[in-house]
Symmetry: C2
Subunit: 254 residues, 2 copies
């Protein structure tokens, strides 16, 4: 039997205004959607489209299921929020491919999407305007001491940091531990922003500093941005503040 | 006089398939386009749209010009390739705002876009599937010793690295120096990819390793991706190789 295809498709951060045309085309061409329930539900039902919504948090199982469907000749879209390449389904799909040579018969492609840090950055101003790092705070798949080692490296390099998966019920103390670790290495006045559910109706921004940052205000829908030593607030219209990491570093202002 | 508006708009990496609907709406609403010539030329001419294409490489001057037009009541789109928030025009716009209180009368917003590292990642597989850093190798606006310090931090944190602006005629030796610096800190077998002009007709991928990486193959349209210790190649259909940074770190494979 001729194999179908597998596309890993990024839905972006909530609003359809932030979904790429290539993703719309890929979704329209799919016979099967595979993904975590809230993402699958963001794609409207239509005749001929089978939705395999999963509450299974084991991403590798979803990826294997998608390959198995494609081997049966189906055209499968594995859907992911944000960019599938950034802390999302693309890695799980290639891990599944690595583990099963039979899956090589399936043509695979990745359709990128806007990631949460970019949505947050757009609302905040230009916090990622200079060198930055993106980290997941989850220690489900990496030891906590690796997280701390990377936070140290981020501080030593004086990078801006975008922190994904900053909180969960299973490990409520981790973000506080991360802030504590960074406070020993960075200025307490460092600008910090909590950008929650950006692009969704309940989006919310909270501006603070590393010294004042309160982990209780952060949930799993929040992206945390922590500035470098050059990041600062800029006054805008109507008393609002923008978060700016300038393009230059360690030089006199122009 | 009532002020107009200023939108910083990301055009994405070349192909219109990778431009967000929000960007199309913002461009359609603009009376004036401000930007570097190749970006302005990517937006079709239409009646009522004035294109201020600049060959001026001083981004802050373009940003100030955009605010001045908006203060005259114009609706200005400052256009940028990729994501304006990532090594592009958003930071320059907020630097201009910081420098001139009169500009606070102008409502500003940022329309994000897909950045080059995401386009590259989609073509490569899942190189950014775990914690990563994004750096500009340009030392126009930061001292070279800051670049080296950050490369050291990236290696110590064992991050994947996406390197923007890796080469220029004015400083042809910098990428070779960066590879040399990283070779002292990382395994020579570390996967490296050069992703050139992704999303444009002349796009090109070159897969190599840190030990073999040849700076002569890199130009300013290239995004360089350097793996972590966990990044590896995965065999796909028709003998192609994908670049994978798995979701787990320092743990047994599932």
């Amino acid at each position: 039997m001729t194999a179908g295809t597998l596309a890993v498709v990024g839905l972006g951060p909530g609003t359809a205004d932030w979904r790429l045309p290539e993703a719309e085309v890929a979704l329209a061409a799919a016979t099967d959607l595979v993904g975590y329930i809230p993402y699958v539900e963001r794609v409207p039902e239509r005749p001929g489209l089978i939705r395999h919504a999963s509450d299974n948090r084991v991403e590798i199982d979803r990826a294997r299921h998608a390959f198995a469907l494609a081997l049966e000749g189906r055209h499968v879209a594995v859907v992911s929020g944000g960019d599938p390449g950034v802390f999302a389904m693309a890695a799980a799909v290639f891990e599944a491919l690595e583990g099963e040579p039979a899956f090589r018969a399936v043509p695979v492609r990745v359709v990128p999407g806007l990631s949460a840090m970019q949505a947050a950055a757009a609302r905040l101003g230009a916090p990622l305007g200079h060198d930055f790092c993106a980290m997941s705070l989850s220690d489900n798949l990496k030891p906590w001491d690796v997280v701390l080692r990377r936070l140290t490296a981020v501080a030593q390099g004086d990078f801006v940091l975008a922190l994904y998966n900053p909180a969960s019920k299973a490990r409520p103390t981790r973000l506080g531990e991360a802030f504590g670790h960074l406070r020993a290495l960075k200025d307490a006045a460092t600008p910090v922003a909590f950008a929650r559910a950006i692009g969704r109706p309940d989006e919310r921004i909270h501006l603070t500093s590393l010294g004042e940052a309160d982990p209780a205000l952060v949930d799993m829908a929040t992206l945390v941005v922590i500035g470098s030593s050059e990041t600062r607030w800029v006054a805008g219209a109507d008393g609002r503040r923008w978060m700016l990491t300038p393009r230059s570093y360690g030089m006199a202002r122009p």
